[in-house]
Symmetry: C2
Subunit: 363 residues, 2 copies
């Protein structure tokens, strides 16, 4: 990754959240502890019970009023999953926690690897590990997710709602810069921009214009762009074509679910909500949610949490440690059911902690 | 389909447009003529050379000033493809033709079938014809494709652009009504709404509200909704789950490319831009573009054009004739290379017109 800063003795805020977040988090920590010892990182962990529906039920809010100051003392947030829709609507639980973090801590990069893993069934035909290996870089603070707009002529036939998309030069340029830095650090040096300038005819031509300007500063990176409709199609038809894909908040949201869906890894993929300058803590969490339907059975696959830990180490300035965790995941998956204790979703009969222990042992 | 109106002796405006549009159009007509004879429809065709880049080069505009009155005399427009990006930027060619038609003729429904066909390689593993068979119904006039907005503080660090998304009650309700009518006419009676109300927090909750209201009028249709990110993922992971998917202009744009990509049919899929009341002519065209790279070789697959003709017959009130064309396509594809004259993209060595003739003969 392209964070140059190394965080000495990093302090980690651990927030398991809801549902299977509480089951996979110990396995994430187990792997991090193994890497911690092996690489002498000196990482320290503190656990918090807020940003969960349990906390909400006790306190009538998702987080204590001083959450910002509390978490500002940490170098990163290691997060499980949040949301129990049967108890609390998502717009309360998510907007009261994750979205607060993204905005409060200016986590303007949302980063997700899209990678085929051995032993994970892939919905695409004739693809094997190595074929698909790219990143989606999503703008995480502005764009289509504004809160500006409203309704006119309510409850009449003339009723309408409007909502602004807002793209600022600062907001666009910094996400492009991050994506170009990342592309430049990779062997293929290839950046793909997601646009829709043929249809969304004001904001998206502006996005294209800024990509064009930034591309001049990264002459060694090959740039191309696709409209979001055909880009989504190519994720299915030609996923081997991509290296770094940069996208607005909404387009990135779509592509960063679609990518892992194409590799079959949506249940084990990691993500980072990153403030690249390290002025604020960044957050790392699995892509999967709290999965209330399987919570309590200890059958959740902990790889998403563990892989998120690997991404966090990368961000904190310990890429070899991150790589060691990722290699351990691959090694255990490669061994296959019968040889490794895999959870039911990947063909085994083992429990969450059995798989977690096997991965920690392989580090 | 849910148009109740039957157009007697329908008059069709034929516009081949650019590139392979000119090669596949004769095959579209050939199939329609065969159905015309067999079912005694009395369809008449008039050909037009405008809405093409050739026309632009001669006249400095994509269409004559009286295009609206000219085309209003027809019951439907049978369209090939438009655009020659090396000659003319897409925003000139497309916005000067297709987008004019959509808005001028209030073609507020964009309809695309997503169906696995025999003999068309599918990028998804373990799927066979019959597994995937649904429609994407896209709102085609408003939503995220507004032209309202602009730039502030140009060329400074404070520069930003904004663009409105606009959802009107009339615009939303009529597309929902169309989609519900369609769902009600199908055996599964299942409607899926594409939303993003957990992120796009003004317009999308409004969309959900209107879906909820409309669903009450269609008690026999099962309704569900997915956020667009996970919906895109399910198109890849569980495409057999869908029957009728209704979406805003932008979400529908994405899903109606992603769907055909998942079935491998993006090069042969049809689409309709429909004014359901028949107050204005509707337009039917293949999803593929003008493909300048293969133009002139007569290797383009004409199935998209022919299938669009089948949709047009459906719309005009001749569903059995539409079905006959579709069955002929399936029959020829089922025969397979060696037995049927297939174009190179589907494993054969035949020319565009050979395949077109085989399908016409099978009607
Ligand atoms: C050319 C473009 C404006 C158009 C759209 O986005 O509507 C195209 O992608 C389509 O789907 O017909
Ligand atoms: C919960 C929702 C607002 C969120 C988003 O769209 O950003 C989620 O889909 C994600 O990707 O983290």
């Amino acid at each position: 990754m392209n964070t140059k800063k190394i965080f000495k003795n990093p302090k980690i805020a651990v927030i398991p959240g809801d549902g299977i977040g509480k089951e996979v988090m110990p396995e994430g920590i187990r792997a991090l502890e193994a890497a911690n010892r092996k690489f002498g990182i000196g990482m320290q962990f503190d656990h918090f019970d807020f940003a969960s529906c349990d906390y909400y039920l006790k306190h009538g809010k998702m987080m204590p009023d001083d959450w910002f100051d509390t978490l500002m003392k940490y170098d990163a947030i290691f997060f499980g999953a949040v949301g129990m829709p049967d108890i609390l609507p998502d717009h309360v639980s998510l907007w009261g926690s994750l979205i607060q973090f993204r905005r409060g801590f200016d986590q303007y990069v949302n980063l997700r690897p899209v990678r085929l893993l051995p032993g994970i069934p892939c919905p695409l035909a004739n693809r094997k590990p190595g074929d698909i290996d790219f990143f989606v870089v999503r703008e995480n603070t502005e764009g289509e997710y504004s809160s500006v707009g409203g309704k006119m002529f309510p409850d009449t036939d003339r009723e309408f709602v409007i909502q602004e998309s807002v793209f600022t030069r600062q907001g666009v340029d910094r996400i492009l810069k991050y994506a170009y830095d990342l592309a430049q650090s990779r062997p293929k040096k290839h950046l793909t921009s997601a646009t829709k300038s043929n249809g969304i005819a004001i904001t998206m031509p502006y996005w294209d214009e800024r990509v064009e300007a930034m591309s001049k500063k990264f002459a060694d990176v090959r740039t191309d762009k696709y409209h979001i409709d055909i880009l989504a199609a190519h994720f299915v038809m030609n996923p081997d074509r991509f290296d770094v894909v940069v996208a607005s908040n909404l387009f990135g949201d779509i592509l960063s679910d679609l990518g892992p869906a194409c590799t079959g890894t949506i249940a084990v993929a990691p993500s980072g909500s990153i403030n690249p300058e390290g002025k604020f803590p960044s957050l790392f969490e699995p892509v999967h949610g709290s999965a209330p339907d399987i919570f309590g059975k200890m059958i959740a696959n902990p790889i998403g949490q563990i892989w998120s830990g690997a991404m966090m180490l990368d961000h904190l300035g310990y890429p070899e440690a991150g790589k060691a965790i990722f290699n351990a995941i691959e090694k255990v998956l490669l061994a296959g059911p019968g040889h490794a204790p895999l959870t039911p979703d990947v063909g085994g009969t083992a429990k969450t902690d059995d798989l977690g222990k096997a991965i920690a042992a392989a580090i």
